[in-house]
């Protein structure tokens, strides 16, 4: 049991931290926009990277969806799945690649249920833009760059839209 897993299994603190961070980033939108994405990322990264590495084993994908995944980084999944667990999860909840490792998504969904964001398990998370790799997601979030996807407006974004 590490600091990280303890915090993630009782995600209240992390959720509050995220909300505070998001609030701060919204406030900082103007100055960050003035700096531009590249420079904002360079300034923010020395703080963000070690902190998120410690707390989440962050892989710096640059388009963070931690609040949709129970504060569990989906890029730590060996298949880097962004939309839930694959069909290879072992009967005991371990990853098909490593009998010592719990399925990341199994953990993510359990934790998500303890946060106010459980409905986000139905979110269709778009594919990764690998150009953002190694960029500070605080910067991409603040500048809305993490939301840029290719897709029509009429597209379904949540699975609840097909459920009765």
């Amino acid at each position: 049991m590490s600091l990280r897993t303890t915090l993630q299994d009782h995600p209240g603190f992390l959720v509050v931290s995220w909300r505070v961070t998001e609030g701060l980033l919204r406030l900082l939108h103007r100055p960050l926009a003035a700096l531009g994405l590249e420079r904002s990322s360079r300034w923010v990264k020395p703080v963000e990277k070690p902190l998120k590495r410690l707390l989440f084993d962050c892989r710096m994908c640059g388009q963070c969806i931690l609040h949709y995944t129970g504060m569990t980084c989906p890029m730590t999944c060996p298949k880097q799945l962004r939309n839930g667990p694959c069909g290879g999860v072992q009967m005991d909840g371990r990853c098909e690649t490593d009998p010592e490792m719990n399925c990341i998504w199994l953990e993510a969904l359990e934790r998500l249920a303890k946060t106010p964001y459980d409905a986000e398990k139905l979110r269709l998370n778009p594919p990764v833009d690998w150009q953002l790799e190694e960029m500070a997601s605080w910067a991409t979030l603040a500048l809305g760059r993490d939301r840029v996807t290719t897709g029509s407006d009429a597209e379904t974004r949540y699975a609840s839209e097909v459920m009765e």
Binding site: P78, Q80, G84, P85, M91, G93, T97, Y158, M163
Partner: protein, 311 residues
């Protein structure tokens, strides 16, 4: 919107309200066209569509797309399979265009077994996108006529009947119907499930699926696979990711001699197939005869699913 007759027989059979049947073919480990065509000849006419796996179990095989082209030439309707493990979006789109150019009507999008499970554990799992986004990408190519980068596909857009997979047996069980919903929302028109040996668990899953109304939004083909021996069943339980084999089933086989086990395997597949046909929300079967296609014609006939409807 003008109604057009789908190219996909699988789609037409389902649209006509018939119980559909798909059969899986494993391509050869090698450029062995004659072996592939022998398999194809054995099962021709015994299903509405024939899946060819894509480096299944992360073991190298002749790729799904060329194998599909070959079996299509031999008169079988293919389902080309694409994993997210082996190709990035550029490669996937290029191959999808290739499949469309050959008129392959059905495509199945899946994550794929991780390389460490297979015979090339040292290679990178590409994972450029996941299976939900692969379904979405294929749907957008077909319906919005755009590539994944948002740019239009000039002139001809690919036409596909789009499928995805479901494994009701892997934890977390209560999320599996929701994962199905995500794939449906992304555009999955048919679903092929993992092999079913635990009917109780599958029944529970289908109850949840029906409660959510998902069975009306997509056509679920339940996975059935005849085994040839106790060892085969044990292999399923231990070496294939995500298969649930209940103890009582293994006990049943333990009591039998080797010779009787083969017959028992086929009988079991029939029993399971029959139960699945009666289950609400199941629109067809997906037969995966692991290792050997020779038993398929008999299985299909015993299930009363031969000849196939002519639609």
């Amino acid at each position: 919107m003008t109604a057009r007759t789908p190219n996909s027989k699988l789609e037409r059979v389902l649209a006509a309200g018939e119980f559909a049947l798909a059969v899986e073919i494993s391509p050869p480990v090698g450029p062995n066209k004659p072996a592939l065509l022998r398999q194809a000849a054995r099962v021709r006419g015994y299903a509405d569509a024939f899946n060819v796996t894509d480096n299944q179990s992360a073991r190298v095989h002749l790729a799904s797309l060329p194998a599909c082209i070959l079996i299509q030439e031999a008169g079988l309707e293919p389902v080309v399979q694409f994993t997210c493990r082996d190709r990035n979006r550029l490669g996937l789109q290029a191959d999808l265009l290739g499949a469309a150019a050959f008129g392959i009507p059905n495509v199945l999008a899946l994550s794929g077994d991780h390389p460490v499970c297979g015979d090339h554990p040292h290679v990178r799992s590409v994972g450029d996108i996941d299976s939900v986004n692969l379904v979405r990408m294929i749907r957008m190519m077909r319906d919005d006529q755009v590539f994944e980068n948002g740019q239009p596909i000039p002139k001809l857009a690919p036409e596909f009947f789009i499928g995805a997979v479901a494994n009701p047996f892997a934890p977390p069980h209560d999320f599996r119907p929701l994962r199905l919903a995500k794939k449906i929302a992304a555009g999955a028109q048919f679903i092929q499930t993992q092999l079913i040996y635990n009917l109780e668990r599958f029944r529970e899953y289908m109850h949840q699926v029906v409660d959510l109304g998902l069975h009306e939004k997509t056509a679920i083909l339940a996975g059935v696979g005849p085994v040839k021996s106790l060892a085969g069943l044990e292999f399923m339980r231990d070496r294939v990711a995500g298969i649930d084999v209940p103890e009582p089933l293994l006990d049943r086989f333990r009591r039998l001699s080797k010779d009787d086990q083969q017959k028992a395997g086929l009988d079991l597949a029939c029993e399971i197939g029959e139960e699945l046909r009666q289950m609400e929300g199941v629109r067809g079967l997906h037969i995966m005869a692991i290792g050997s296609t020779t038993v398929i014609p008999e299985l299909v006939r015993r299930l009363g699913l031969h000849p196939r409807p002519d639609v």
